[in-house]
């Protein structure tokens, strides 16, 4: 797909990382100085003399000092499988997201097929499908949970359904675009073979849509992750990154928020990597273009 890789990107990546780390320290000091200054002037006893010294020990810093972050990371990560630890909760959120993503793929592909095959369906529903995506799930998540609860759907599944709701649209758009990607030349060729509409779909459109579909799935994976975290925040949850986020936001424990953000990021990266691996397996047979 992209340009040929002549060498490993490891060295440039390390150089950029080193630069970022060197720059982080002064940025952090400047960002925290104001807060420290304010705290000192209000008479709080921070156990340090000047605002510059206090910048690395604040309880709720704007940017945490690396030492603070490391300490917070250790506290939240051990033991890894305790119900209060971040790795365990990331695992819970991850499985909700995967289930939601699977639901979203089925729904999105079905919808894309309908959109491509029926112009009346497209014209009647596409604007409202778009509109449905601007509905903030945070607002409907509690209502959805109540309605689902009335039908005996509780615990894991409501979160997966809310994740699927926010993730199906990128999948549908990407898949529809992919199904339309064969150009007139290819379609004409199929016509000269007297291929039926079904054969055109199965042998030309569906394979042609795969690159688009997987690109869309990567977008959808992060969207689904957002969906399950939001669902955890706004429904009664006992585990998951969303619950941790809500608790620490209420307690305004900034360092913990940073640690959870890193775990959320790692989870998102892991999900996208998983889909990338799936893509390589599925599209292995495709000839290089």
């Amino acid at each position: 797909m992209s340009a040929p890789r002549t060498s490993s990107p490891l060295l440039p990546m390390l150089a950029v990382a080193a630069l970022a780390l060197v720059l982080y320290w002064p940025v952090m000091l400047v960002a925290n100085r104001g807060v420290a200054d304010e705290a000192l002037r209000s008479g709080a006893d921070l156990g340090c003399g000047t605002a510059w010294q206090c910048a690395t020990v604040l309880r709720n810093p704007v940017l945490p000092a690396p030492g603070q972050f490391a300490a917070g990371f250790r506290t939240l990560s051990t033991p890894p499988l305790a119900p209060t630890s971040a790795p365990y909760n990331a695992l819970v959120t991850g499985s909700e997201t995967l289930l939601g993503l699977a639901l979203a793929s089925v729904l999105g592909l079905g919808l894309a097929t309908l959109l491509v095959f029926s112009r009346s369906f497209e014209r009647a529903t596409l604007p409202w499908l778009v509109a449905s995506q601007t509905v903030p799930i945070v607002a409907i998540a509690p209502m959805l949970a109540v309605i689902l609860g009335q039908y005996g759907v509780q615990g894991f599944l409501p979160k997966a359904i809310i994740a699927a709701y926010i993730a199906f649209f990128p999948v549908a758009v990407g898949a529809a675009q992919g199904l339309r990607s064969p150009d007139a030349l290819q379609l004409d060729l199929m016509r000269t073979y007297r291929a039926s509409a079904w054969q055109v779909f199965w042998q030309l459109r569906l394979p042609a849509s795969l690159p688009y579909l997987f690109t869309a799935l990567k977008v959808a994976a992060t969207a689904a992750l957002v969906g399950s975290i939001v669902a955890e925040i706004s429904t009664i949850s006992f585990s998951g990154l969303g619950k941790m986020l809500a608790e620490n936001s209420r307690a305004s424990d900034t360092v913990a928020l940073w640690v959870i953000m890193v775990y959320g990021a790692a989870l998102g990266i892991g999900l996208v990597a998983l889909i990338g691996a799936l893509e390589r397996v599925v599209t292995r047979w495709r000839p290089a273009r």
Binding site: P9, P136, A265
Partner: protein, 323 residues
């Protein structure tokens, strides 16, 4: 893409024209309206079953009407089905919610939402100004420009592409709900923190699509230009940029709806007292669900408008694919 959508369905009923479809639509809408009015007169009926059947039957008639109305290429055929589908859905929802006597604290009927929309119009418009103009739109523009600029830089300087791009792919996977509290904490409760969240979330998809698109120019095309001794600038203008545009616009189209929703979600982590997200959060807490849905309607209208605008820009700027 820019090519016309190629539908495989045979244009059945094309000869009957959109007139019959519009007639069936009108019939179904009037029937549903009649159901709503009949239900509005008295108390909720004891047995909702017949009302459900009546609604479903009228919806079937409406669906047939939609199919007929969508034939052809005129302006009518493009707008009538969407408007008709919305009208039928709203009327059916009104009838069913009334027939089953669903409490307005759980799901308010469309007419109640409409009344709330009108009653709270000044507040909602002020909220929309904050959320849409200052947060979503400004954030989207800033993020898209930054993404495009960084993408061009990354393709120009291979070191940057190899050193920076892997991180952007990683960073684009940070869920916005995990990012928002940290950013709001760092920048403050005013609208700039939400603008920053939106810009960050738009930047990465645009950057990645730009780079991917710039690399997607066909090798034959590039070889040909090379054999013509074209300068890099010419190659960029003739081959690379046109190849990149469809990719860029896919990212923009997907980001523009996400920008609005991300602005709303970011508002849940603290505001200075205005914005659609703020309104929704406050009113959910007070069980003012008709205002909540009214705010959702405003957000949806803005979201659809920006999506359609992006679609129009895409048709205007992405060259149609030639054979």
């Amino acid at each position: 893409m820019a090519t016309r959508p190629l539908t495989l369905a045979a244009p059945a009923g094309a000869r009957r024209g959109p007139g019959l479809g519009a007639g069936l639509l009108l019939l179904a809408a009037l029937g549903l309206l009649g159901l709503c009015l009949a239900l509005a007169r008295g108390e909720a009926p004891g047995t909702p079953g017949p009302w459900l059947l009546g609604t479903l039957a009228l919806l079937l008639v409406g669906a047939a009407g939609l199919r007929g109305a969508a034939q052809g290429e005129g302006r009518m055929a493009r707008t009538l089905p969407a408007a008709g589908a919305l009208l039928l859905a709203l009327l059916a929802a009104e009838a069913l919610l009334r027939a089953y006597a669903v409490p307005p604290g759980l799901i308010p009927t469309p007419s109640r939402v409409g009344a709330a929309l009108w009653a709270a119009r000044t507040v909602l418009l002020r909220d929309a100004l904050t959320t849409f103009v200052y947060e979503a739109l400004l954030g989207f523009v800033l993020g898209a420009l930054a993404g495009l600029g960084l993408g061009l830089l990354a393709v120009r300087f291979r070191f940057l592409e190899r050193g920076l791009l892997p991180y952007t792919a990683l960073l684009s996977s940070v869920p916005i709900v995990a990012l928002a509290p940290v950013v709001v904490k760092a920048i403050g409760l005013g609208w700039p923190s939400k603008t920053a969240v939106v810009a960050i979330t738009v930047l990465f998809p645009v950057l990645l699509s730009t780079v991917r698109g710039l690399h997607s120019a066909s090798a034959h095309h590039l070889d040909l230009l090379h054999s013509y001794a074209a300068t890099p600038a010419q190659t960029f203008r003739v081959a690379r940029w046109p190849a990149a545009l469809p990719f860029v616009f896919v990212a923009l189209r997907l980001s523009v709806t996400l920008a609005l929703i991300n602005a709303i979600v970011a508002e849940f982590f603290g505001t200075e007292g205005s914005g659609l997200g703020f309104r929704i959060q406050i009113e959910v807490g007070r069980f003012g669900l008709d205002i909540v849905w009214a705010a959702i309607v405003v957000a949806s209208v803005l979201g659809v408008a920006s999506y359609l605008l992006m679609g129009a820009l895409e048709r205007r700027f992405v060259p149609a694919r030639r054979l």
